[in-house]
Symmetry: C2
Subunit: 192 residues, 2 copies
DNA sequence: CTCGAATGCCTAGCGCTGCTAGGATCAAGC
DNA sequence: GCTTGATCCTAGCAGCGCTAGGCATTCGAG
């Protein structure tokens, strides 16, 4: 039995290596540079090995996305934990969100721009994604305002942050006014 | 001279044909299906002809984007012209924006998701893009609220709409609550 | 201990992509 | 009538995601 266990462990290790390497490569040179050939070379296996772990490139993106969702949830919760007043918590959340997108563009793309084969906003949505949304809602739910469902409010706030994040990174918004945009969003959307 | 003029005219016609065909193909089957081979076949010329008009696929996407920007500006202006009260104008604008994104997903991608080699928010930004932003600002500038620059407010509102548009289309937001999201955004962001 | 079965991995290759070099064809100008 | 230049095509390059097929190695049964 011990031999089988070792093999399973090694296989799991290799799978983690694939995901970590894909992520690293994507952060360094963008997702376009993450080709199955380059990825295989970096993990020092042949291409077909990738397909014994994942159905294809899409699933590898999905794996990076799930990893990123967990990290993002942690980042947002720890940012909001430090603030006590609701308004400051929301601002801290918004900053944490945009900061994560800024520091981990490839992970952010895997999560919200690319097709990682994941389902969102459904029952079979992966736990990591549900939890990241839950992390948003924990802070945003209490500033939704009367008669507005926390879910709906969270979606709208999230969409706004997402718009700012993506338009900024693609050069469609200039980064200079980032902080002022956050302030405006928080002040207008959140009901204190 | 007349011969040369005819040739120039034919060349311009062919360029329009390329852009129109690329757009059509993208709307029908997505941008991934717009390959230089397929595009060349549809316009009944060989591949290299495309490169005598555009530097590459990216520039073709950019051309579709510029065309789309003009149409979007028209759509937004005609939608807001019908409404008299500021609040209704803003709501009409938001609906027109999201409606355009919904009806012309490939064009919207060319404009705001893909790399069409265009510059945004700069001096050398193409007129069509500046004008589309101007169309937004015409309506949004008057509900920015005291002490908030119309430009900044327009950017934030636009980013929010963009977030809703992209997250909805990629299945990350469910389309059912679309109208309620619009109402919430308008009510909270716009200062009447 | 031996031998067939199963596993793990690699080489090679398919059909596709964006893009380009080089040659054929045809019209314009002297 | 010949040359020159523009126009367009065929053919091909390197790289892409993905997979078929075969070679070792390891495992389990006799």
């Amino acid at each position: 039995m011990s031999v089988q266990e070792r093999k399973q462990r090694e296989r799991a290790d290799r799978e983690r290596l694939i995901v970590a390497t894909a992520r690293e490569l994507a952060e360094q040179q963008g997702w376009d540079a993450v080709t199955t050939r380059r990825l295989a070379e970096r993990i020092e296996y042949s291409q077909p090995v990738l397909y014994s772990h994942f159905r294809g490139k899409r699933e590898i993106i999905g794996a990076v996305a799930l990893e990123g969702a967990s990290e993002m949830a942690v980042a947002m919760r720890s940012a909001t934990a430090a603030a006590s007043a609701p308004r400051e918590r929301v601002a801290a959340l918004a900053r944490a969100y945009l900061d994560f997108a800024d520091r981990n563009p490839a992970v952010y793309d895997a999560l919200f721009q690319l097709d990682g084969g994941l389902t969102y906003a459904q029952e079979d949505t992966p736990e990591q994604l549900k939890d990241a949304f839950a992390a948003l809602m924990e802070t945003l739910g209490e500033v939704a305002g009367d008669g507005v469902e926390p879910e709906l409010f969270t979606e709208v706030f999230w969409a706004s942050l997402h718009g700012v994040a993506t338009l900024t990174r693609s050069g469609r918004l200039l980064p200079e006014d980032a902080e002022r945009r956050i302030e405006l969003l928080v002040d207008r959307l959140a009901v204190i």
